[in-house]
C-alpha cells in the first residue's frame, strides 16, 4: 500500500461496478492502441519516507552552503537571515495548499495577504500599483519592456549593460520572435550607466537601468530620469536585484521611474539554487491596464463588509486569450506571501537599520581590500556589493580559497570579457566582522 493512495481493493471493485467497467484498464478503452506506452515506466523502485530522507541528505551534502562555507557572492541571489516565523506561517496549509483565489469567499487569507504585498511593494518602490508577482527579476524586466512597447507602440528599447547579464539574456529570449530591437547602453569607468548614450539611440519605447546595478553601484536615477524623459513618450524602467537597498536609498518612483521591477528573493525567501524567487513589478497607475499579471483589489460584499477579489481580469489570458497583456497565469504567490511576512516582521524602522547594516559591512570589507592594496575600479557609491580588481593570477588564489571553504566573490570575466581579474563581492548582515577580517587575510596570503 502506498500512503498517498487511499483506494482499497473493495473500493476499486465497488467504483468499477458503478462506472460499469470490468477493470482499471477498461477505463482507458478510448485510447487507441497506437497511442499507448509499451511496457512499464523504467523508474527507480519507490523509496520509503525514511529511504528518501537518507537519499536527499546525501545529495544535499554535495552542495556547498553557509555557514560551513563562507560565500561572498550575491549577483541576484542574496544570503539574508530569514526569521523562523516566515517559513512557519507560509507553511500553514490553508495558504500553502490553496490555489489561485478564484472563489474569494473562501480565499480571503490569500487575497488580503497579496493585497498587503501589493501595498508594501508600492511603498517600497514609490509607485502606485504593484501586481501580485512575476516569476523572477529577469522575466519581470522582459515583461516591463514589452509593457512599455504596448503603451507607446514603439519598437525599440534601450537596456543598460550594467543590468544583471542573466536578466538581459532573458530579455533577449522574450524579444527574439517579436522583431522588437534592443539597444545596449554602455557603462562608464565609474561603474554607472553612460546616460549620454541615450540621446543618440533613436525613438525608444523604454530605457531600463538597474540600481544598485550589477556591479553594486547606485545609479543616479534623477539624472537618468532627466535623460530618458527628454523624450516624454519614453518610459523609464528601473530594475533591481536587491530590494533591501530601498530601505536606505530613494525609491525608483520618487525619482521618476514609470515602472520598477526586480527580484524580491532577499525578502524572506531562501536562495534555493536561484528559484523560486519573486518577480516584483510596479508602475504608475495610468499604465495599469497594460500591466501583466494578476491584481488583487479591495471591494465590499453584499453586507457591505470589506473584502478582496482578483480584479481587472480583462487584461488576462483566460478572458482576453491572444489579446492578453501577458500569458502569465500562476505566478509566485507563496513567495509574495513570504515576502510580505518578511516586510511586516522587519517593519519600517527595522528595514532602515538592516539596510544600513548591509551597506556598512560591505563598506568595511571594501575599505579593508583597499587598505590591503587591491584596486576598486568603480568609484560610484555602492550598497552591499562591489567590484574588486585583483592582480593577474588571482584565479589560483580563488581556487585555493575554495578548498578552505571560502568563495571569494563572483569572477566577472565570463559575463564581461573586458573585466578579467574583476570579482563581484557581496556582504550582508550574515557576515561578522571576524569573517570579513579572515577573508582579507586569506586573500592577501
Amino acid at each position: 500500500m502506498m500512503r498517498y493512495l487511499p483506494h482499497t481493493a473493495e473500493d476499486i471493485t465497488a467504483m468499477l461496478a458503478t462506472v460499469g467497467a470490468n477493470s482499471l484498464e477498461d477505463l482507458f478503452a478510448a485510447i487507441p492502441e497506437g497511442c499507448r506506452r509499451k511496457g512499464e515506466m523504467d523508474l527507480p523502485e519507490p523509496l520509503t519516507e525514511w529511504e528518501l530522507n537518507r537519499h536527499m541528505e546525501g545529495l544535499a551534502r554535495e552542495n556547498a552552503v553557509s555557514p560551513e562555507f563562507k560565500i561572498y557572492m550575491g549577483a541576484g541571489s542574496y544570503d539574508h537571515f530569514i526569521p523562523a516565523i516566515v517559513p512557519y506561517l507560509a507553511g500553514r496549509s490553508e495558504v500553502y495548499t490553496a490555489y489561485t483565489p478564484y472563489q474569494p469567499e473562501i480565499s480571503q487569507g490569500t487575497l488580503q495577504a497579496i493585497f498587503e504585498y501589493q501595498t508594501l511593494v508600492c511603498r517600497l518602490l514609490g509607485l502606485e500599483v504593484a501586481n501580485a508577482s512575476m516569476y523572477d527579476g529577469a522575466s519581470a524586466l522582459a515583461e516591463a519592456l514589452l509593457m512599455a512597447i504596448r503603451i507607446n507602440r514603439r519598437r525599440r528599447v534601450a537596456v543598460s549593460k550594467a543590468i544583471h547579464p542573466l536578466y538581459r539574456r532573458v530579455v533577449e529570449t522574450y524579444f527574439r520572435p517579436t522583431g522588437f530591437e534592443i539597444v545596449e547602453i554602455p557603462y562608464l569607468k565609474n561603474g554607472r550607466t553612460d546616460l549620454s548614450a541615450i540621446a543618440g539611440s533613436g525613438e525608444l519605447a523604454a530605457v531600463a537601468v538597474q540600481s544598485p546595478n550589477f556591479f553594486g553601484c547606485i545609479e543616479e536615477l534623477n539624472a537618468a530620469e532627466a535623460a530618458i524623459h527628454a523624450d516624454p513618450k519614453t518610459l523609464f524602467i528601473t530594475a533591481f536585484s536587491e530590494p533591501l537597498a530601498y530601505g536606505l536609498l530613494k525609491s525608483p518612483g520618487s525619482m521618476g521611474a514609470d515602472i520598477a521591477c526586480g527580484e524580491g528573493q532577499s525578502f524572506g525567501i531562501p536562495r534555493s539554487f536561484g528559484g523560486p524567487g519573486l518577480g516584483m513589478f510596479a508602475s504608475r497607475m495610468q499604465y495599469v491596464r497594460n500591466m501583466p499579471g494578476r491584481l488583487i483589489g479591495q471591494t465590499r460584499d453584499v453586507d457591505g463588509k470589506r473584502g478582496y477579489v482578483l480584479t481587472l481580469a480583462t487584461r488576462e489570458q483566460h478572458i482576453r486569450r491572444e489579446k492578453a497583456t501577458s500569458n502569465i497565469c500562476s505566478n509566485q504567490g507563496l513567495c509574495a506571501t513570504m515576502s510580505v511576512m518578511y516586510m511586516a516582521s522587519v517593519g519600517g524602522t527595522g528595514i532602515r537599520e538592516l539596510a544600513a547594516l548591509n551597506r556598512d559591512k560591505a563598506e568595511y570589507l571594501k575599505n579593508a581590500f583597499a587598505q590591503a592594496g587591491f584596486s576598486l575600479p568603480f568609484t560610484a557609491p555602492t550598497f552591499n556589493e562591489f567590484v574588486v580588481k585583483f592582480p593577474a593570477g588571482f584565479d589560483a588564489i580563488y581556487r585555493r580559497l575554495l578548498e578552505k571553504k571560502i568563495v571569494a566573490g563572483l569572477p566577472l570575466a565570463p559575463y564581461y570579457p573586458e573585466l578579467s581579474n574583476h570579482y563581484l563581492f557581496c556582504v550582508t548582515e550574515t557576515s561578522s566582522r571576524e569573517d570579513l577580517d579572515q577573508l582579507v587575510k586569506e586573500v592577501r596570503a
Binding site: 483506494h7 551534502r61 557572492m73 496549509s93 539554487f273 483589489g297 465590499r300 489570458q317
Partner: protein
C-alpha cells in the same frame, strides 16, 4: 444522509497590516552591529519605505488569522478541474528545506553544487521516461512559461529551416494561456472547433493546416476530460505539412504510464509539476513547467543544459540553436526538489496514480449523471464536465451551486470553463480522495440539486457562513483599489 462536512466555528476579524502596530516596534531580531556606520551621500538617501512596525506576535497572529479564512487541500476536497489539487506530501517540503538544498547559491563553481545538478539531471531523465519524450529542460518557471518555451521552439525551428511561419492552430477547448503564449511569439492563433463528441476532427485540422502554419497546440486529455482519440491522424496531417505538434501537459495526471506522448505525435510539451507531481499550489505559484521535446528539437531547449560527463555534472551553454534563457538561473529549483521527491516516492506506481484519478472522475460522472447535465456523455479521463442546464428552470446557475458547495465544506470545481460548455462545472477529484470523501462530495452535489428545486433562495443567498459573502467584483474592476492607504 451524512451530516454536512461543512460546519461553522469561530474565526477572527483582522485589520490590514498598516492598521496595526506602533512606530518603534520590530518583529525581527536585528543582527549585532560590529562595524562603524559608513555615511552615504545625502542625495542618494531616501526616507525608507513606510512599512508598519509590528511585534513578532502581532505578525504571527495576523497571518494565522488570515490563513483561517482560506480553504486549502488539507482543509477539504478541492476538485478544481484542470488544476489537479492532489495531496502535497510533507516529506517533499522537508527535502526542499534541507540546508543543503534551500541554501545553495546558483552561481557557485559546479564542483560545489554537484548534488543540485545531479537532481536536475535525474529529474529531467525521469520526466522524459514518464512522458516518452527524448529530452527535457526544467527551466520554465510555470506552465505558461513552459508553453512560451514551446512556442519559442516552434518559432526557432521554422526559422532554422529558413521558412518562418505565422499561425498556430488552437482548439476551442484550450486553456487561455495557449493563445496568449502563441501571441507572445508573434503567432496568430487560429481557433479550431471541436466536434460533437468534444474532440478534434482530422478533416477540420486538414482544412486549416497550411504551409504558413507553424503547428497545433493540443491539450490531451482535453479540457472536457476526453482523450483526443484522433490525435495520431491530426499529428500526421500537421507533420505532413511541415508543422509541429505541441502538447499541453496540464492533464498529464490522467495518462502516466499509459500513453506515450511521442508515439501519439507530440513534438514539444510542457508539464506542470504543481499539478501532476504534487508540489503545492501556494495560492497561485510558484509552479514549475518543464518543457519536453523529441530528439530533433533538443538543440532548441533553453540553456544552460545539465549534462553528465566523466561522473561530473556540468552546465553547458554552447548550444547555438537554443531559444536562450527563460529564467535568471535554473527555474524553480525548490519546486523541482519536491517533484523529484514525489517521483522517487512512487516510481512506477505513478501509473496507479493515473488509474485511480481516472476511476474517481468516472465514478463521480456515473453518480451525478442525470442529476446534473453532462455536456458530453463520453468516457472521461481524470475530470468530468457538467453544466447547470437542468437547473435553469429554477433560475439556479453554476455560480449558485459553487457558492452553496462552500457552505457544505467543499471547494467548488472549476466553473465556466471550458468555454465551449455553457455554465460548465468541471470536476477533477484526483487520486488523493478516498471513496468515502468522494461519496460525501457526491451527496452534497445531489442535495444541492434538490435544494435548487425546493429552496432556490438558499442557493442564491449562499455562502452565508464564510468570512465574507458574495463580493462586488464589478465595482472592484470599475473603481480599482489596488493598494491600501
Amino acid at each position: 444522509m451524512n451530516p454536512s462536512v461543512g460546519a461553522t466555528g469561530l474565526i477572527f476579524n483582522e485589520p490590514l497590516l498598516w492598521e496595526k502596530g506602533a512606530r518603534g516596534r520590530c518583529g525581527f531580531s536585528l543582527p549585532r552591529r560590529d562595524v562603524a556606520a559608513a555615511p552615504l551621500n545625502e542625495s542618494l538617501q531616501g526616507e525608507g519605505p513606510d512599512f508598519p512596525d509590528l511585534s513578532e506576535l502581532e505578525v504571527t497572529r495576523h497571518f494565522t488569522r488570515l490563513s483561517q479564512w482560506n480553504f486549502g487541500v488539507e482543509s477539504g476536497m478541492y476538485p478544481l478541474g484542470s488544476c489537479t489539487m492532489k495531496y502535497n506530501p510533507k516529506t517533499n517540503d522537508r527535502q526542499a528545506a534541507l540546508p543543503g538544498m534551500a541554501g545553495i547559491h546558483p552561481l557557485l563553481p559546479i564542483e560545489l553544487s554537484q548534488g543540485a545538478l545531479q537532481l536536475i539531471y535525474d529529474l529531467e531523465r525521469y520526466l522524459a521516461e514518464i512522458t516518452g519524450m527524448d529530452a527535457v529542460s526544467v527551466q520554465p518557471a510555470a506552465g505558461s512559461q513552459g508553453e512560451l518555451a514551446g512556442m519559442l521552439i516552434f518559432s526557432a525551428y521554422h526559422q532554422s529551416l529558413g521558412r518562418p511561419r505565422t499561425k498556430v492552430l488552437i482548439p476551442d477547448t484550450a486553456h487561455g494561456t495557449n493563445p496568449a503564449s502563441a501571441a507572445l511569439c508573434g503567432f496568430k492563433a487560429v481557433p479550431v472547433k471541436s466536434n460533437e463528441q468534444g474532440v478534434l476532427s482530422p478533416e477540420v485540422v486538414a482544412d486549416l493546416m497550411d504551409e504558413d502554419t507553424a503547428g497545433i497546440m493540443i491539450t490531451n486529455p482535453n479540457t472536457l476530460g476526453i482523450f483526443e482519440e484522433n490525435i495520431r491522424q491530426v499529428a500526421e496531417i500537421v507533420h505532413a505539412r511541415g508543422g509541429l505538434v505541441y502538447g499541453d501537459g496540464a492533464n498529464m495526471n490522467a495518462i502516466m504510464g499509459i500513453v506515450n506522448l511521442k508515439a501519439i505525435g507530440v513534438d514539444v510539451m510542457h508539464l506542470n509539476l504543481h499539478k501532476t507531481f504534487s508540489t503545492p499550489h501556494g495560492g497561485g505559484g510558484p509552479g514549475s513547467g518543464p518543457v519536453c521535446v523529441v530528439e530533433k528539437l533538443a538543440p532548441f531547449l533553453p540553456v544552460p543544459r545539465v549534462v553528465k560527463k566523466d561522473e561530473t555534472y556540468r552546465l553547458v551553454e554552447d548550444m547555438p540553436q537554443s531559444i536562450g534563457k527563460l529564467h535568471a538561473f535554473y527555474g524553480n529549483f525548490g519546486i523541482q526538489v519536491r517533484a523529484y521527491s514525489y517521483i522517487l516516492s512512487l516510481g512506477a506506481l505513478l501509473k496507479k496514480v493515473s488509474q485511480f484519478a481516472v476511476l474517481s472522475a468516472n465514478y463521480i460522472k456515473a453518480r451525478l449523471k442525470g442529476v446534473y447535465h453532462l455536456a458530453y456523455d463520453q468516457p472521461c479521463m481524470h475530470e468530468c464536465v457538467f453544466s447547470d442546464k437542468l437547473l435553469e428552470p429554477y433560475k439556479i446557475s453554476t455560480l449558485d451551486v459553487a457558492k452553496r458547495l462552500m457552505e457544505m465544506g467543499f471547494h467548488p470545481p472549476t466553473i465556466y470553463f471550458p468555454l465551449v460548455v455553457h455554465g460548465a462545472i468541471m470536476i477533477e477529484p484526483t487520486e488523493s480522495e478516498s471513496k468515502e470523501d468522494l461519496d460525501h462530495f457526491i451527496d452534497a452535489m445531489i442535495r444541492i440539486a434538490e435544494e435548487a428545486r425546493e429552496h432556490p433562495d438558499k442557493l442564491h443567498a449562499a455562502p452565508t457562513v464564510t468570512k465574507v459573502r458574495r463580493l462586488d467584483e464589478t465595482g472592484a474592476a470599475r473603481n480599482p483599489c489596488l493598494s491600501g492607504r
